[in-house]
């Protein structure tokens, strides 16, 4: 039987019908060549030791494009298609994920470098989390070890905190979307948190993949509230950890970093209480000492003045003219009561009064003599 003659277009269409039967596949291979066209389309080849395959993708769909590089082992999810115009066979990709530890590491390092250069990990943009948080937004898997570790340690340290828990998937295909949805939920204006806590228990690099996803990193970067991460074990550093405002080594450590232990706070309260009580006592003691000192000062001043008063009164006594009169001196006044100091003040036959210690003498002047004239008596 002679084969049927078909135009090219119809033939390609027919092939595509067969290819549709295959449906979606995931093909694993190493990236051979990686080309971007007009900033919108991605052309690459993936290969193994036996074959190679062209892959086409719309760049907007490959959100982790920045982490891909030539030589990397990847798993490409897509559908096979024969292009009508070029007759070229391609796997039309919807997702290209690094596969295996080596590639994951490579993708991680590549994205880390790129985001670091962009400034996403800069220390200068990290926000401080209050040391007394009252409201926390919690993102982790439901019924997970991470959840129970965090809640247990937090409760042991401090109570009275309002926690809004949004369960997320932390692993697998839906993890990234789930984490993003959690952050979106928490970004509602009416919900404000002192911190958003993103947790996941330990795992391999592959298990922690969602926390190295560029979209998750950017979501954390743009979070309204500060973010603390507690992902994996002590030694696991994901890109989410690098972009977070605070990185805790484990979920338990996140609780430890977030709140003070109440015993620590009670001890602090006691210290403050003692300080203000002893400081007040000090002030009171100071006032008391001042009063004692002041009353002493007052007493010595009174004593001093008393002594001065005595001396003065003695001096006054010694200066009293009556005491002089007692010693035989007398004072003479003229008729007007003026004390006589000079004979010019009086005239012959004038009256004078002489005051003695006891009594007064009224006399009439018979004779006057100046000091230079020879005395009669």
């Amino acid at each position: 039987m002679t084969p049927k003659i078909v135009p090219v277009g119809q033939f390609v269409e027919l092939i595509n019908l067969y290819l549709q039967e295959i449906g979606e596949v995931i093909v694993e291979g190493e990236i051979g060549e990686l080309k971007l066209s007009q900033g919108r389309w991605l052309f690459l080849t993936i290969k193994d030791s036996q074959a190679s395959l062209s892959v086409f993708a719309v760049l907007a769909q490959i959100t982790n494009f920045n982490s891909l590089s030539e030589g990397m082992l990847v798993r490409v999810r897509g559908v096979p298609k024969l292009y009508q115009r070029s007759g070229r066979f391609s796997l039309v990709a919807s997702e290209i994920l690094p596969a295996g530890e080596g590639s994951l590491k490579m993708a991680f390092e590549r994205l880390k470098k790129e985001l670091d250069q962009e400034g996403l990990f800069a220390l200068s943009r990290k926000r401080q989390i209050t040391r007394y948080p009252e409201r926390l937004g919690l993102l982790t898997a439901n019924n997970s070890q991470a959840y129970s570790d965090f809640v247990k340690v937090l409760k042991h340290r401090l109570g009275g905190i309002a926690i809004t828990f949004y369960p997320i998937k932390v692993q697998g295909n839906e993890a990234v979307d789930s984490i993003l949805a959690g952050f979106r939920y928490f970004s509602q204006k009416k919900l404000r948190f002192d911190a958003i806590v993103l947790l996941r228990g330990g795992g391999s690099l592959e298990d922690l993949q969602a926390f190295n996803d560029e979209r998750v990193v950017r979501q954390i970067y743009s979070s309204l509230d500060p973010v603390i991460t507690g992902i994996g074990h002590e030694s696991d550093w994901t890109l989410a950890d690098l972009v977070a405002d605070v990185r805790a080594s484990t979920p338990s450590n996140a609780a430890e970093l977030l709140v003070f232990d109440k015993r620590e706070l009670l001890a602090k309260l006691e210290r403050h209480n003692k300080t203000i009580a002893s400081q007040l006592q000090l002030i009171l003691l100071e006032k008391k000492n001042f009063l004692i000192k002041f009353s002493g000062l007052l007493e010595s001043m009174i004593n001093k003045y008393q002594h001065k008063l005595l001396t003065l009164s003695r001096l006054l006594d010694s200066l009293d003219y009556r005491n002089v009169l007692k010693r035989g001196y007398s004072i003479t006044y003229d008729g007007n009561g003026q004390v006589l100091k000079n004979i010019n003040q009086v005239k012959i036959w004038g009256s004078i009064i002489t005051k003695l210690a006891v009594g007064e003498i009224f006399s009439q002047i018979k004779q006057l003599k100046t000091k230079n004239e020879k005395k009669d008596y």
Partner: protein, 63 residues
Amino acid sequence: MKKKTTKTVSLEQGFSQLESIVSEFESGALNLEQAIARFKQGVKLVQQLKQRLQVLENEIKKI
């Protein structure tokens, strides 16, 4: 959020107020009248904060 106590002070505000009272005392700039007023305020804060620290449970709301 349910509150059993009359008025719980926030830890952040309470501790910051208490710490500023302590440093006022330590600066030695208070006169007797001010010192007594601050002391009363401080003692009240200590009591309120102690009460706040006695809250044992955290309230968890699952979305």
